[in-house]
Symmetry: C2
């Protein structure tokens, strides 16, 4: 029987994922639950944690326990303050916030990362940094651009195996708000999808006029029968994702972009990037588990008595 | 007593405004109601119209009656199909759709306008065209750029007293959807306003990164205490309006932009335009009434038996 050497937990706003890890960072078990921090009643994270992985804690009494994601935010269990870029795995490990469970066991919450763009405006991530550093380790690269598509898509620059900066695009959340809460929703069949319409939306995002004008164009095209309810949603998706991709790759150096995230969305971003002439590849699937393993290794080497 | 020579009605999605006009287009009376076409039960526009201005119809049995706005759309009383640009007052008048009231009186619905941008994507307006041609007549200009800010802001090119083209930006509606239905809403005091924050948002819209990245920056600035609930809403407003203005004026020729619309919004757009170096002036306040008068004049000269 392989020994569990660490427990890693990726605990976000809407999902919970726990890993039992072996000495090489291999995943022995995964446990998923719809128990994101938003779903935890009365802030009883300790009780929820016992219910979710109490048996794993019992079975591996000496394994370091590392948590990442929104669980370490102000809305979570305990705030692990943002660490400013640039940051490597060791920096993250050193900035983890210790927390003692009611049962007496000490666990560690990973900090998020912060950065400031050229204009001085702040940006933040929390949870993705662990995936990124895990992916970088798995890929065996030192310098890479990584995109994590989603509600708040992240574009990340890694150099010398450190996160040196990143930018967040409110793509997925803007798409939801615009398709559900504007006049556009009236002429969209939300259950329908159409690949050519998605790519047409990506193409449209390259025209003059900006996103706000392009949005109204979706409405007008519907009035003229040039978009149907079955194609308008995919077109809108391609339009908004296209705006993200063009802004994010405006000064891209031509290297391969690695995409990390949920399969369907990664495939969609891959299509859209190809459409605008940027080469992408799917990142390693177990990036979060790998990153949690690296943090646990650091804990074992540097922090634990 | 001055004779009423025409009745003009600007009947939009959310508002109803009726004018009694004299021979020179002067406004003798205005009647406003919260009786936009969305508020009319069971599509009984005839009944609503009688209630709203039946007495005016009785009192001016020979006056032409002209309606403009969404009342002439597919969701309205009778569809007056879009007329393609370029279009002058005479073109609009010639394309009005006649409609016989239950009481036997014939009234006329103005068509909307359509155009296609450089990329071939359609655009439409309905109601604004009457305001625009009224404003052009009042201003005594032949060639001008007009902006009508709102949920769907219009930027309009007028040459030789004809609307030659326009572009619509989904600014107001996107602002509402984004501030009410994304994470941004949580940190915005919707009742608060702050002029410096509005202008800071306009400035921010000129940075690299695009709207989707700038939106997330509002969130991150909130986390770092660089925007407060009392300033974040005005900043977001400036940011989104700024994106519209920069796109709309990207190839502007430096002439004065005339702003037509509700006073508060016109003042705000004027501030934002000044901030990005574009001179604007408030358009004539009675543009809609003037445009309806011009249509009624054409009817009198060309169409009525």
């Amino acid at each position: 029987m392989t020994v569990v050497t660490a427990l890693g937990i990726d605990w976000g706003t809407s999902s919970f994922r726990a890993y039992r890890l072996d000495a090489e960072g291999g995943v022995l078990d995964v446990r998923r639950a719809d128990a994101g921090i938003r779903a935890i009643d009365d802030g009883d994270f300790d009780g929820a944690f016992e219910q979710l992985v109490g048996d794993w804690l019992d079975a591996a009494p000496d394994a370091p326990v590392v948590l990442s994601g929104m669980i370490g935010s102000r809305q979570g269990w305990l705030e692990a303050p943002y660490l400013a870029c640039p940051a490597a795995v060791g920096d993250l490990a050193g900035a983890m916030a210790p927390l003692d469970l009611a049962r007496g066991r000490r666990v560690y919450l990973a900090p998020g990362l912060s950065t400031r763009g050229a204009s001085g405006v702040p940006d933040v991530m929390r949870g993705e940094e662990v995936q990124i550093l895990g992916a970088v380790d798995r890929l065996g690269v030192e310098r890479v651009t990584i995109c994590l598509p989603g509600s708040h898509s992240k574009w990340v620059q890694v150099d010398d195996a450190r996160v040196i900066g990143f930018a967040t695009y409110m793509t997925g959340e803007a798409f939801e708000a615009l398709r559900r809460h504007t006049i556009l929703g009236r002429t969209i069949d939300h259950a329908a999808w159409d690949d050519p319409a998605f790519l047409a939306g990506v193409d449209r995002s390259g025209d003059d006029g900006g996103l706000l004008q392009h949005l109204f164009g979706v409405r007008a095209a519907g009035l003229f029968g040039e978009l149907e309810p079955t194609t308008a949603g995919a077109f809108l998706s391609g339009l908004i994702i296209g705006h993200e991709l063009r802004a994010a790759t405006a000064s891209h150096d031509g290297s391969v972009v690695y995409l990390i995230g949920e399969g369907g969305l990664v495939a969609l971003y891959g299509q859209a990037l190809r459409r605008i002439g940027v080469t992408s590849r799917e990142g390693p699937p177990d990036a979060a588990a790998r990153g949690l393993h690296l943090l646990a290794e650091h804990l074992r080497e540097h922090h634990r008595s």
